[in-house]
């Protein structure tokens, strides 16, 4: 029911698969570091989808430059957010090594 080439379909399927795996990891991941990795996997899945979108209908294989620029911007934004999250995690681990009852009452 779709007229995309089988190769693009394969990559679209992988992108959706990566999004799903990242989503599962983000929801379930027990350790915070694993949830940060899951976020990166979701990002990778979305960027792969955008690359595949950049490819449709171009015979000479030159991808859509606008999309490549968007992906580059998204990549740098994702890396800076991950770096900040890991810095926060490092501070959290250093601040309280063991488990501690959060002083505020947790949300409903």
């Amino acid at each position: 029911m779709t007229d995309l080439s089988p190769q693009l379909l394969l990559y679209i399927g992988t992108a959706a698969g990566l999004f799903a795996i990242g989503l599962y990891g983000f929801i379930v991941g027990p350790q915070t570091l694993r949830r940060i990795l899951a976020l990166n996997i979701i990002g990778a899945g979305i960027f792969m989808l955008m690359v595949v979108l950049a490819y449709r209908g171009l015979a000479d294989g030159a991808a859509d430059p606008v999309l490549q620029a968007l992906i580059l911007t998204g990549l740098v934004v994702a890396v800076s957010a991950t770096a900040f999250a890991l810095a926060l995690l490092a501070r959290l681990k250093q601040a309280r090594p063991g488990q501690y009852r959060p002083e505020q009452e947790p949300g409903p």
């Binding site: 999309l67 580059l72 490092a90």
Partner: protein
């Protein structure tokens, strides 16, 4: 069609690596599998013939993110792997499958034609000052996005420096010391080439910055660049120069367009566009390199300062 087999194996490998990284028992295995996943992603970008992204993903995605994860892992106490009971995993799995179904149903409706913007961008490429379309879009057509993104990077550094604990002291071996010294000139040469090539071929500020950062991180882990810290005014000036060069260039461009056209923000004068973009990219590269380095290695602890002035002699 012969490449379909290669694509299939690559995609399968990506999915398996991602799944293994999420489901692995030990956290260490998760991180290592994630770094392998990052490298495979770089290969996937290369396979999809987007060299800009392959460079950026390899340097930033796999390299620096991997280094960050390992430094975070080093602080993590290796406690028992938490085992989740079956119902705890069932509901998220059902939700994820629903989302996946919805997204796939939507994606299959994508039209095969490319977006009209491609021809518009191609048409405007002549007076954009650079011949490589991606750099033209990044630094001319949608330069406001790039400026905000540089601010996001600066912001991540501000947040990380304000929060991060003191960096752990790293031991440096004479071999790694000499290797980092050998690597440094090559990295600088490559980064310069990448920056210069950005105007005509794949390359540009982000990839060059990431490469420089990788070299600086290796040097820093061997106690080499201890002057590279946020409290040093010149380093702060260089980091801030990435964004401020962009803004100053834009303001200068506004002054220069005093002829007939009305004054528009971020419009480079057509004939000088190439020069402006190169200037902005130069400062952006330096700023990105320093920012990423400080993000990965953080501030050198005071103890390291004493050891630094006695030269990085070997620790037995």
């Amino acid at each position: 069609m012969s490449l379909l087999l290669f694509d299939a194996t690559l995609c399968l490998l990506l999915l398996v690596l991602a799944l293994a990284s999420i489901l692995s028992r030990q956290l260490v295995h998760g991180v290592i599998l994630y770094i392998a996943f990052g490298l495979m992603m770089a290969l996937a970008w290369a396979r999809l013939a987007t060299p800009d992204l392959a460079l950026a993903e390899a340097a930033i995605g796999a390299g620096l993110t991997g280094a960050l994860c390992f430094s975070a892992l080093a602080r993590q106490q290796l406690h028992l792997p938490v085992v989740l009971s079956w119902p705890q995993r069932l509901w998220p799995a059902v939700f994820v499958l629903l989302m996946l179904g919805g997204v796939l149903a939507a994606l299959l409706q994508l039209p095969p034609t490319a977006s009209p913007l491609v021809d518009v961008a191609q048409a405007e490429l002549i007076n954009s000052g650079v011949s490589h379309p991606v750099t033209a879009v990044l630094l001319n057509f949608r330069s406001w996005d790039t400026l905000l993104e540089l601010v996001v990077l600066l912001l991540a550094l501000l947040g990380a420096l304000q929060v991060a604990p003191a960096a752990k002291a790293t031991t440096s071996w004479p071999l790694s010391l000499s290797w980092s010294r050998l690597l440094a000139p090559m990295v600088i040469l490559l980064a310069g080439y990448l920056l210069w090539a950005g105007a005509s071929q794949p390359g540009g500020a982000f990839q060059a910055g990431a490469l420089l950062a990788a070299g600086a991180v290796v040097l820093r882990l061997n106690h080499q660049l201890n002057w590279l810290r946020w409290s040093n005014f010149w380093i702060r000036l260089l980091i801030v120069s990435g964004v401020s060069a962009f803004v100053l260039a834009a303001l200068l461009a506004m002054l220069l367009t005093t002829d007939n056209t009305d004054v528009i923000w971020l419009r480079w004068p057509p004939q000088l566009a190439g020069g402006f973009i190169l200037l902005v990219e130069l400062f952006a590269t330096l700023a990105i390199a320093l920012t990423l380095t400080l993000l990965v290695v953080g501030e050198p602890a005071a103890a390291e300062q004493a050891q630094q002035n006695s030269g990085g002699e070997a620790h037995d």
